[in-house]
């Protein structure tokens, strides 16, 4: 398998693995929302839960990483099929977009942790 082909297989595997991670994260995220809003929702309550909590930081960092990668790899496939955007340059662009999305999400998670 050539290097380029390996990269394509890697992206496919990341897409499948991130999908599995997202399935779990979305369920936990939604369940937490349903549980949290029962007594009314306030910023103080949210921060009370996330501030200083390594577990929530790790959870949302993983969530953001999976979401960023999954969305970018998916858009890469759609752009290749519908717009004909293919090749190394397009791949680098999508990987950068995915990592940037993930970094924004992780920054938000760090913000909730350190607030």
């Amino acid at each position: 398998m050539g290097r380029r082909m390996r990269g394509q297989v890697l992206l496919w595997s990341l897409q499948r693995i991130s999908a599995a991670v997202l399935a779990l994260c979305v369920i936990v995220h939604l369940a937490t929302i349903l549980w949290a809003v029962r007594g009314g929702l306030s910023a103080a309550e949210i921060l009370g839960r996330t501030r200083g909590s390594e577990a929530w930081l790790a959870f949302y960092a993983l969530f953001a990483l999976a979401a960023g990668l999954h969305a970018a790899i998916g858009l890469r496939a759609i752009a290749a099929e519908w717009l004909g955007w293919r090749g190394r340059g397009a791949d680098a662009l999508w990987l950068a977009a995915g990592l940037a999305t993930a970094v924004f999400g992780i920054r938000a998670a760090v913000g909730l942790y350190a607030a």
Binding site: M1, R4, M5, R6, G7, Q8, V9, S13, A80, E81
Partner: protein, 240 residues
Amino acid sequence: MEGTLTVKVARSEGPVEYQVPARANQTVLDVVSYIQRELEPGLAYRYACRVGMCGSCAMTVNGRPRWTCRTHVAKVARRGVLELAPLAHLPVLRDLVTDMAPFFEKWRKALGHFRPREAPEGEIPDFALIPPASPERQQADAGIECIGCGVCHAACDIVGWNPDYLGPAALNRAWTLVNDLRDGAGAERLAAVAGDAGCHACHSTQSCTAVCVKGLDPAAAIAGLKRRIFWQDPFGWGGG
């Protein structure tokens, strides 16, 4: 069924309409042959065996790829109208005849030929003993009846979006050989069918399985290839 059938044929010079006598138990190929023999001697179409073995008579019938020799008009005509066109996703040579060369070129690229497992240096190659009823052989047999008609290739959206995509028929053939214990090209074949123009491009929409004239399941074959590659070498690091 008696009366007249209206047949709209997408010929190279443009659509032409023919009136053909409707008969009981006639196939789409019967109708095309009638047009060529009685109405339009210059109509180009292709067939050989007429009995569903050779895979050469496939075309688009009322918007869907089918083998015309085993397709009854009564089952596919809409209000006495048949619309015939060449197979999709292949270059048209003339009228209803497509150039199958790109299709079989993809089989070659997918290493769709049997390569015997080599005996260790200095030893005489032995006969492989694989009972026909063994699970290994049955897995290889699952997709082996492909007649190469090109119907699944024409029905596949991914082939339409990416002409380089190997397509369901070639990948089904590769999966058949991957499961054949007598074959020795395993790792090389898996490498040949991986990536964006190979099995990883498939979205599992299963049009191929829905249209396969032999009732095969190319979508499952492609899923099998993805699974095999994932567990052997999930991140493309070259192991396994």
